[in-house]
């Protein structure tokens, strides 16, 4: 019988040890976790900033352009706003609408008449959907306008493109009226 008691007492001791293990207070130092101390100022990262070309527009100078015909609307628009005709797109589409093709033909004709002028074609989307898809959509819109002009004989070297996706709406509204204005490709004169 003594043997069994011994065995039992060892067993009870084991149980007690296991139980005690759970009670140990573990010290966890939360200090020094680097991710909490985020030191960020990417305005300070100068080297990357200097590598890129900075686009600078001279707003003071009134440009003189060759006119399609005396006092035509497109040349007036170019002088007043620094832009050629803007074209618009259907929702989630990047093909050029038939009714906009005349505007693009005018832009092409004008650019051929003013060979010293380069333009930046900005592609935009409305606010619906995801930013990333809309950036790609704006890119497709800008590119399809560029290739249309290229097919009309405008040197593609004069046409650069950028997409702003849904990030720079023309109209800040939230309905089809605003959206239809925002789905656009704009021609910004660069020189």
């Amino acid at each position: 019988m003594n043997k069994y008691l011994k065995f039992l007492s060892v067993f009870v001791l084991c149980l007690a040890l296991v139980a005690c293990k759970g009670k140990t207070l573990l010290k966890e130092d939360v200090s020094g976790q680097g991710s909490e101390e985020v030191v960020v100022d990417d305005g300070m990262v100068g080297e990357d900033f200097m590598e890129e070309d900075v686009v600078e527009e001279d707003a003071g100078k009134k440009a003189e352009y060759a006119e399609l015909e005396p006092g035509d609307a497109l040349t007036k628009r170019a002088v007043d706003t620094g832009e050629l005709y803007t074209v618009h797109f259907d929702y989630d589409r990047y093909n050029i609408r038939d009714e906009d093709k005349d505007l693009l033909r005018k832009n092409a004709q004008w650019l051929k008449l003013n060979p010293g002028v380069n333009v930046l074609i900005e592609g935009h989307a409305d606010e619906r959907g995801e930013n990333e898809y809309n950036l790609a959509l704006g890119e497709k819109r800008a590119k399809s306008v560029k290739s249309f002009l290229n097919s009309l004989g405008v040197d593609s070297g004069r046409l650069s493109t950028i997409s702003y996706g849904e990030e720079m709406p023309m109209d800040n509204g939230h309905g089809e009226e605003a959206w239809s204005k925002n789905r656009r490709a704009a021609f910004m004169i660069r020189d």
Partner: protein, 445 residues
């Protein structure tokens, strides 16, 4: 004789075999696999300040605000899971000032009387700007300590100490890792420009990560949570950058001609999936961060964006409009084959692969508004998770139990969290305003 001698030994051995697993393994208080989960009743007593007495009203206020933060963070974490029934403080019988912190001092009967199966008690002290928190979880039915921890942190962020304890409490009671120390990245235009922000998972403790005044989009965590990829116009064009969240070092990842957007780290953190347009259509590529080798994944006239890696890195889901409208496709790297995942809806976007690998959540629009959906990756099952408002940009919690997304009403966007089955919708308040594209971090500790 022999029989008589052996039988008690057998009896004891049998007993040992039965008991050993029960004592060595923690009891599972909440079985997350169970078809229906009974909420575990828990009482969280106001933590007791046991440091040197306050010398003036200012110190008094500091102590009470730290107490409030500690208890609020822990209680919110517990309530967030919807796995607990938090006993209201008004029901408590024991006065917190009594300082009964050891199991043998606690009158567990009083706690059982108010229905508290479990009890959390805490004591804290302040030394300079250091905050020390001792916190214990008791089983009131078995009258024993389940968990005891001490945390030392800064008085500037008491919530963090409670989040640490909440992680441990959750892990102890469910056997799974807690998400209470995880974080979120998101975009807000509160300053007038879209900048990247980080916050705790609950929207508190906000830090602004970019301040370049241009347009910043698509923040993404590195798998170790130490770096962030983002798309920025800070140099005039849409390029991808990587920000080291510890050192603040910012580097260019991709700045090719055309758009450089939507970078996503591979699960091993060595490669980045991204969309480049150059002279072509927007196509998906993989950039090896060491060798700078670029591998093109798609080649078509349409749009290919928003990649998401499967957790094993063998597959990638993405959005393509190759079928006429944006749909989600899955590319299998070993075979090189692409499979279309979605057929319904006019616009499917922003897929996010679940941490367990068998689901993809995404946003879908049929007519106008978008809603969050989830699709199985190994069957053709789909389920709609949201039904009201305009909901986009879903992202999984690292344990796969929750989905964070943004919801827009008339141009103003907010962050919401729901359980992965679409229940338990909760608005996340960051205090920043107009938050979009929330991205849940991986486990950070």
């Amino acid at each position: 004789m022999i029989k008589q001698k052996l039988s008690p030994i057998y009896f004891i051995l049998f007993f040992l075999v039965l008991l050993a697993p029960a004592t060595l393994q923690a009891k599972v208080y909440i079985d997350l696999e169970a078809p229906s989960i009974r909420q575990l009743p828990i009482a969280v007593q106001d933590f007791l300040y046991t440091g040197s007495p306050a010398r003036n009203p200012e110190e008094e206020r500091l102590i009470s605000s730290i107490r409030a933060e500690l208890v609020d963070a822990l209680t919110s974490d517990i309530e967030f899971t919807r796995l607990f029934k938090v006993i209201p403080k008004e029901a408590f019988i024991e006065d917190p000032a009594e300082d009964r912190f050891a199991g043998k001092e606690i009158n567990f009967r009083e706690w059982r009387m108010i229905g508290a199966d479990t009890l959390v008690k805490g004591r804290f002290q302040i030394q300079g700007d250091r905050l020390t928190l001792d916190v214990r979880l008791f089983d009131c039915l078995r009258e024993r300590l389940i968990l005891g921890k001490r945390y030392i942190g800064s008085i500037s962020n008491p919530r963090k100490l409670s989040h640490y304890f909440a992680d441990k409490l959750y892990e102890e009671l469910t056997g799974r890792k807690g998400i209470f120390t995880t974080k979120m990245l998101f975009i807000s235009n509160a300053t007038g420009n879209k900048e990247v922000y980080a916050s705790d998972y609950d929207g508190k403790n906000v830090v602004r990560l970019t301040r370049n005044g241009s347009i910043n989009l698509s923040p993404q965590w590195s798998p170790d949570g130490k770096k962030m990829l983002y798309t920025s116009y800070k140099n005039g064009w849409a390029n991808i950058y990587m920000l080291d969240l510890r050192t603040g070092r910012d580097t260019v990842v991709s700045k090719k001609e055309g758009i450089n957007i939507g970078g996503r780290f591979s699960p091993d953190g060595k490669r980045v999936a991204l969309t480049l347009s150059e002279e072509k259509s927007p196509e998906l590529y993989i950039l090896d961060l060491d060798s700078r080798d670029l591998t093109r994944l798609t080649d078509n006239y349409g749009i290919d964006v928003s990649p998401t890696w499967s957790p094993d890195g063998k597959k990638m889901a993405y959005v393509s409009d190759i079928s006429g409208n944006p749909h989600i496709f899955v590319l299998d790297f070993p075979t090189g084959k692409t499979r279309r995942l979605t057929y319904k809806g006019k616009y499917n976007s922003s897929p996010a692969w679940s941490p367990d690998g068998d689901k993809i959540t995404f946003a879908r629009s049929n007519t106008g508004a978008f809603n969050i959906w989830v699709a199985s990756t190994n069957s053709d099952k789909e389920a709609q998770l949201t039904f009201e408002g305009n909901n986009i940009s879903p992202s999984w919690s690292p344990d796969g139990r929750y989905i964070v997304f943004s919801s827009t009403v008339r141009g103003v966007s907010s962050i919401y969290i729901m359980q992965a089955d679409g229940t338990g919708l909760l608005k996340v308040t960051t205090g920043v305003g107009n938050e979009t594209t929330p991205v849940w971090s991986p486990f950070l500790y």
